[in-house]
Each structure stands twice: as C-alpha cells, then as structure tokens.
C-alpha cells in the first residue's frame, strides 16, 4: 500500500516538474537579453537552469504566479522594501537615496549609481559594493516552510504518543522507524551508548531537515536549498562548533599531543591534525553542496534536452532518462542526509571518545 502510494507520488512529482518546466519555456520563448536581442534556445535553457539553481529575491513558480518577498539590507542602517520593486531583476531600485540592482551573474544585490551600472571584473563577476543582504529570499522562505512543516509533523507525532498511550498514530507512524533508525544505527554505534543522548536533537533535526529540503528540491517548487553553499556551510559550521565545544580532554590530547608516537612526530602531527579538524567540516559542506547542485544541473539539463531535440525519439529518450534520474535523485536526497548525519555523529563520537591508555 505504502509502496504503491510512493511510486504514484514519484510519478506525479516528476510529471508535474516536467510540466512546470515546459510551461516556463512556453512562456519564455520570446525572452530577450539585456540588449534586446532574441536569445537562442540553448542560451535560454542555460539562463533558466542558472536561474533555478540560484537563490532569488522572489518566489517564482510560473510567470503568472510569483510572490514578491521582503528585501532586508544593512547599508548604513536598515533598508527594507519588497522585491517586486526590482521587477524580476530588470529595474534599479532607489531607496533612501541609495541605488540597488540585482546582478544576474550572481543573483546578489549590489549598490550602483542612478543608472544601475554594474562593473564586472575579467572573470565576469561584479565588483560593485555589496550591502549586507538579510533578505527573506526564496531559499530562506523555503527553509521557513520546511521548518514549519517539520515542527507541525513531529510535534504532531509527539502529541499522538500521549494521546494513544505510547503508540504513534497518523503520518508519524511512517517517521517513527526513521527516528529509531537515526538513534540505533547512526547515533549509538558512532557516538556510543554513554554520550549519544545529548546529540540526538541535533542529529534528528539535521537528518530530517536535509532530507526534507532535498525532497522539496525535487518537487515542482524546485527550490534548490541544499545546493546553496551558504546553507551547507552553515550546517557544517554547526557540526564543527558542536564537536569543538563538547569535546573531551582526550580529543584535544589526540590533536596536539598524539600519545604513543615519538616526540618529534608529535610536532609534525599536531598541525596536520589541527588542519584535519577544519577540513572535516569543509568536506561536509562541499559534499552536500556539490551533490545536490550537480544533481539539479544534470536533471535539468536532461529535461532540457527534450526542448533541444525536437524529435519524438530524443524527447522520449530524455524523458526516460529524466525519469530514471529523478528516482536516483530521490535516493540521493535520503543518502546525502544520511551521510551528513553519520559523519556528524562520527565527529561527535571522536570528540567524546575516551581512549584507553595506549
């Protein structure tokens, strides 16, 4: 029953995402570039994929369904206005005597002169001054939605326990085994029976958060949250901070004064070990970011093939390929959440591990 429902949902999501992508193209066939020239189909697709992967200041679902989001800037004081003022990045906004424009190269807001000129360096990146941008962007909105959903879902599950005398009911029934899995297969083996409890909150939250945003990335909403390096960096930073601040004496001892090796080696090992502690969260950041980013790029490129090869063979082939890849991405969504959680647990485990004297 569950598997039937799941496969139905998969197909539904896939078809829906194809549909919304196709629609986007139908509407944007007449797109023009900055200089008013008509874009070729390939350039259009490139721009679309880039647009999809980038964070944006409005919540764009289709051309006729776009929600403006608040822009919050820190630029000699708080500057707030709605993103609709940018007119999807085409207009320069004047606010409190400052001029702002979104550079489509990066999707960020830059300070410009009154005419909205953006200076580019030789690699094609803007060199204009950037205000500190705390806007509620599409990604932030998605994080909020995910957080709300998680809260409702798991608070509901928690409530169903007290209502039903310790037995889960409703949608929580599906998630309870996963909670148990995180505890029994991730936390306890990697951290140890003695210390795992204080990390459970973090591990559970990070597992479900990454999994859910990854899944949302595959829906027609298609918001690529974990494909933003700032997001994965923030998550990895939290793991790093928790590791560092809960670490026991043994952890530091093994970094700065490795027991059981000659004294000379201790001096060599210390900087390597110290560097290792920074490389770990960096690798966490990169892995999640690159996996999700690459997954989205490949999936969207293959879907886009449908519009480039306008014959039925090419289209059906690319549909089949996109279908297979979507299912693979569903797996990757869960796998990346799992790996991030396992590695976090592993790092926590090394932080609280108590070694026998060597």
């Amino acid at each position: 029953m569950y598997s039937k429902l799941r496969s139905f949902l998969t197909v539904f999501i896939l078809i829906f995402s194809l549909h919304s992508f196709a629609q986007e193209h139908g509407h944007e066939n007449e797109k023009h570039n900055e200089h008013g020239e008509k874009l070729s189909l390939k350039d259009q697709i490139k721009a679309d994929i880039k647009h999809h992967l980038q964070d944006s200041h409005d919540f764009h679902i289709t051309d006729w369904l776009t929600f403006p989001l608040p822009v919050i800037l820190w630029d000699d004081g708080l500057q707030m206005f709605m993103s609709s003022k940018f007119e999807h990045g085409h207009a320069t906004v004047e606010h409190n005597g400052n001029y702002y424009k979104i550079a489509h190269e990066t999707g960020h807001i830059y300070k410009t002169d009154a005419s909205g000129t953006i200076h580019l360096n030789k690699n094609g990146f803007p060199t204009n001054k950037m205000p500190l941008d705390f806007s509620i962007t599409k990604t932030v909105a998605m994080i909020m939605i995910t957080a709300l959903l998680m809260f409702l879902l798991f608070a509901g599950l928690a409530k169903s326990y007290t209502k039903n005398g310790g037995i889960a009911k409703g949608p929580g029934r599906f998630f309870e085994p996963i909670v148990l899995y995180v505890r029994d297969e991730i936390a306890i083996p990697n951290i140890g029976e003695k210390h795992y409890k204080k990390y459970m909150n973090y591990l559970l939250t990070i597992f479900f958060f990454i999994w859910f945003v990854n899944l949302f990335g595959l829906t027609p909403l298609g918001v690529n949250v974990t494909g933003n390096i700032a997001i994965t960096a923030a998550l990895a930073l939290l793991t790093y901070l928790i590791t560092t601040f809960t670490a026991k004496k043994d952890y530091w001892k093994h970094i700065f004064w490795m027991p059981g090796v000659p004294t000379l080696m201790k001096f060599v090992l210390a900087p390597i070990e110290l560097l290792g502690t920074f490389i770990k969260p960096f690798a966490l950041t990169m892995r999640l970011y690159a996996n999700m980013f690459a997954g989205h790029v490949v999936l969207m490129s293959i879907i886009a093939l449908m519009f480039i090869y306008k014959s039925w063979i090419g289209s059906s082939l690319s549909f089949g390929l996109a279908f297979g890849l979507s299912i693979l991405e569903l797996l990757v969504a869960a796998l990346q959440a799992y790996i991030f959680t396992v590695l976090s647990a592993l790092y926590f485990g090394s932080a609280v591990e108590e070694h026998d004297e060597h």
């Binding site: 490389i279 960096f282 690798a283 990169m286 892995r287 690159a290 790996i339 396992v342 590695l343 592993l346």
Partner: protein
C-alpha cells in the same frame, strides 16, 4: 575554465571514481562472504566513499 583545469578535473573524477569503485567492490565481496554483517559493511562503505567524495569535490572546486 581553461584546458589544464578541465583535464585536472577529469583526473580528479577518474581518481575518485576508481577509489569509490574499489570500496564498493570490496564491500560487495565482504557482503558475499559475510551476509549477516551487511548493515555494518554498508555503513563503513558509505562513510569511506563519502570521505573520498568529499576530497574529490574539494579538489574539483579548487581546480
């Protein structure tokens, strides 16, 4: 991205691919030998693969 960078990226991907492939193959062997330890082997395999993958990605972005 110029030509040496592209070649470097390719080499990284080949190296990481070989590494992860070897891990996967060895894990399959181990599972065939000890099917009762499948869970543990899978976890160890995923962690090892993830570590290689992490280094691979880091190198790929640095290139």
């Amino acid at each position: 991205m110029d030509i040496p960078r592209i070649i470097g990226g390719g080499l990284i991907v080949i190296g990481a691919g070989i590494g992860i492939g070897r891990i996967g193959g060895s894990a399959m062997d181990a599972i065939a030998r000890q099917p009762e330890a499948t869970g543990k082997i899978q976890t160890a395999m995923l962690i090892a693969a993830a570590l290689i993958e992490g280094i691979g990605f880091a190198a790929l972005f640095a290139s």
